[in-house]
Subunit: 397 residues, 2 copies
Amino acid sequence: LSRPSEELTRACRRRQAELSAWLTEQGLFACVVDDFENQRSNSLRWLCGQPTDALLVILASGKSILVPWDINLANERAVADQIVPYTDYKRSFREAVIGVLRESGLPQRVGGPRETDPASDPRPRVAFPARTSHLRYLELSGDLPGALVEVSTPGYESFITEKRNVKDGMEIAATRRAAAITNELVDLLEEIVRGSGDGLREIEVAQIIEREALARGAEGLGFETLAAGPARSWAIHPFPSYSNAPFGAPGLSILDFGVRVDGYTSDVTMTLIRGELSAEQERMVSLVEQAYSAAVGALRIGASCREPALRVEEVFSAAGQRMPHSLGHGIGLDTHESPVLRTQLESSESTFLSGMVFTIEPGLYDPRLGGVRWENDVLLTDAGVTILTQARIVRIP
Amino acid sequence: LSRPSEELTRACRRRQAELSAWLTEQGLFACVVDDFENQRSNSLRWLCGQPTDALLVILASGKSILVPWDINLANERAVADQIVPYTDYKRSFREAVIGVLRESGLPQRVGGPRETDPASDPRPRVAFPARTSHLRYLELSGDLPGALVEVSTPGYESFITEKRNVKDGMEIAATRRAAAITNELVDLLEEIVRGSGDGLREIEVAQIIEREALARGAEGLGFETLAAGPARSWAIHPFPSYSNAPFGAPGLSILDFGVRVDGYTSDVTMTLIRGELSAEQERMVSLVEQAYSAAVGALRIGASCREPALRVEEVFSAAGQRMPHSLGHGIGLDTHESPVLRTQLESSESTFLSGMVFTIEPGLYDPRLGGVRWENDVLLTDAGVTILTQARIVRIP
């Protein structure tokens, strides 16, 4: 079995140390990061290299304890001070959390009456993910009478998210490799669709992408490819994501895919147009092109992440159209991460920073006409705006 | 656009009516089922046919309101009394829940002092999923002062789970079609690996499965195929799930896949052995074969779902071995659903019922030797035990 690279080891050690320091500052005893079925969190991989299915406890004291479902995978890939197989805790999240915290010196109980005001509660504080269910919260509070169980936002997850929002050199390098493979595939796919008759099918295109990505050294795809021929491109995310239906036939076909390198994904969408479009379809294409340009023109370090989405909304609403999804989102270890580029809610608070990597993906969809989406990946640095990928709207006579 | 079939419409209407009746019995006003990114629930599809990304509110009065992310997909596939686009609520779960409940007659507030004992609280009760986060629970309680927000287990989700545990005729028919395609693929894959030299790769095998499944009318795969050649079969779930590494080369290769038909998945694992094994490897294979037989022999309507897992543990522990995962799990709309076949915890409470469909999948893994797993799907009916699939351990000289 191999072991994690020096570079990954250093990065994980640094991230764990920064998080421990933050826990100390905040007066916390420990925090819990977990990734299991139906409860995924790539912060696990970011912090310790283990790609999936494990519990990680970071102590303010600086120690990290990993409890992996697959001990063999952890021995090969994970960076942690201590690795304990999940089977040692009967493969129970609850038993693992209690066990690790007790073995880390969390008192079993504290004498005297318990305070009801959290601020003056003398017990050590242990922070759990914001997604922790109400029922688990009650359960953990009962299981850990010696601790103050905390679920709050902002909290340590916001600390991690802020760090993950701004990519470091290793992360940008992986993203650039993913983008380079993506660009080769964009060219290849254009060529294949141009050269094909009406016989090409959605699944063939999806399989070419995956095969060619792996052949070029990708770890895999970032997400399930969405390949929708003219009969299905009206769906934002077609269901199923590809089928035996024709692709690249006359009309509007959408192809949305991402390539993952060392965990970091690209995310692009091509629209492939074959033959003459109706005037209404031409109008959709033109609006998406205008929206794309308006969005790219509004990217600026220090500006609100709402700005480009507002520009796009202006373009669409002036034409009586509405986009049924966000304009874009951060990419990285997660396919969808911060920042979110949308007109409403959360994004009003976030600001473009140097080191952010995100998508721009305006689109319009009509059950009669089909869909058009155009998506590329952007890296913001002090040197400016870099469009990393070269997906495009392709016209085939 | 097409519309849901008569058969699916009748099934969804019946399921919604049964749930409404149950809500009435329990004195609940409504319950909420949702499926969004990071919060998936195939109970959405089971109740209304919408495969993904929507909020469904079922009222005790009998009414169902669906709020889909993709309105076009819902118009084609969903069965509900009312369908309202998510964009009408600014694509916010919180606004959608509040909006739908208010429009359904939930009072905005109730006069007089609020009771602290839930049992005597006069407000209408609205039930949310057990996975509802502690933070969302607090938020909803504030947003809906006129309601008593409930998150409890057992609750309506247990009611749904119990119904989903026992498959009806339409569900069994879909599962049988998935199994039939799976069996054709098992034969095909054995033939391909037998006929291949050392040049076959994991991704080729994975792509053949998907292509051939779709060509035979499958909706897609049940989950990402796990294809691990001899260098990686030691992992329970190899990461990534397939790569450019050799498959079917000398030693132990594992192939775990499922085929989905109308939402219902199969789930099988073949182990492919090429060439002479070491004595230690032979011992692993033999133990897994013994465990498989012991498990199948312990299947009996009315018996505890722990029984087969206990029989397998006896086989393995007598040989000083331990299986790092459960013996099996229910399959259906979810790849992993009830019942769980394991020696510990929850499963101690569940009992084999007529109409259950689940896997049996003993396995052993060693970082030096590789892995062996053998998995098939079982249908229990009053007529007896039916092994639906024919995956096997294949020996190639």
